[in-house]
Amino acid sequence: MTTPYTERPLAPVTVDAATEHFWTQAKEGLLCTRRCTSCGEVHWYPRALCPFCMGDTEWCSLSGLGTIYSVSVTRRAGPIAYAIAYVALDEGITLLTNIVDCDFDDLKIGQRVEVTFKPAEGGAMVPMFKPA
């Protein structure tokens, strides 16, 4: 059995004080998050205050490389099947995402993946992951 990846429409992203820089970077093909200027820890999703110590934070770049922590192919929530996943980045944070550009039936937890970007309505580029 195969379940090939199919492009699906992505709604416009939310652009606000918390996300604007992230989407600007994503258009350049860059994945980033925020790091605490007090304790030095990176966290996900990006926040103005560190969720570990409440210190101030600043943007930092990410490699875009990681492994699949968990994955589920959602087959009956709409006309197009999609793979929702948590990917554990090499920097030690795990984010919710989609896996794309592959046969979903071959996906496995522990598999290496790398970031790629898919266009949303309105022109934003949304980071997703594909097998490395």
Binding site: S70, R75, L96
Partner: protein
Amino acid sequence: MTIKRKACIAGAYEHPTRKAPDKTVAQLHAECARGALADAGLTLQDVDGYFCAGDAPGLGANNMADYLGLTKLRHIDTTDTGGSAYLIHVSHAAQAIAAGKCDVALVTLAGRPRSEGSSGVAPRLVTANTPDVPWEMPYSPVIVNMYALAAARHMHEYGTTSEQLAWIKVAAAAHAQHNPNAMLREPVTVEEVLASPMISDPLHKLDCCVVSDGGGALVVVRPEIAARLKRPVVNILGAGETIKGQLGGHVDLTWSGAAISGPIAFKEAGVSPADIQYASIYDSFTITVLMQLEDLGFCKKGEGGRFVADGNLISGVGTLPFNTDGGGLCNNHPANRGGITKVIEAVRQLRGEAHPKVQVPDCTLALAQGTGGLLGSRHGSATLIMERQ
């Protein structure tokens, strides 16, 4: 301060409807309130504390309290942790009673997701400014896949199988056949669960709870009041609650909030999992049950699959009778929030009023456990331990 034996559940009522196209949500709340107060032998005029959550239409409790005609209120609580909120309401009601803030607390839940066409494959409801939304909505998290991710990880870590998860549905269905109000009354087999359509890997259609209209209500009172009512007295022994999220990106799907709320409740009650004779375990999906059973300590972490297999959750067959009303998987999941029906069936068991085919003999100690929100991202957990006096 402890709430141990400081308050009693005197009234419990589950609305018999599972589809209510001709009733409003407010009317269902009121019918549930009337049912629970009648069950307790109390009236509207006795209520001085009111508890409701996000299913109650209006601003917090304001609109429903006015609609119901609650004019004696001196304590209000609108804690909302999704489907687990109503277990927290019972705990908070006990705290308020112990602190002298109210004497008769009413908890109501009602909704019409079946008539309104809302289910687990629709995008989850979110409010403007919810901080995680911009980072997650592009990936289409829906209710079912945010539980499926936890199931997939559990299978990877511990070798849990779809057959083992299916046994949870089989046990719920075995109980539901005796409940005339249950939405699904046909017994099912493990094979039938596995043959049902795959919704979001590894969860099949029959791993998912029903979508039903309806509701329920509870009345929590001071022990002195319970003593003069005609119903069997159900004491609250202990309670725990927490919220578990993504831990700043250190996501760990192997445990649920029950790992925190459970030990708190057991410590307050002064009992252990082995003492529990009946357990209502929130069953939004089969995986929800399995993880909560492990986290509450009914079995070791990772052994939930073996624990639930071969009918171990079936009353009269296994070691831990669970959800003898048929649970959310077969009986009822009103407002897409199953917490109140978990407490109601535990009260039926402690009163000896469950269906004779599923009644646990001489049931004196019961637990109810709720997980509300999304197991795979952020959820509220609540544990409640009760005894028959």
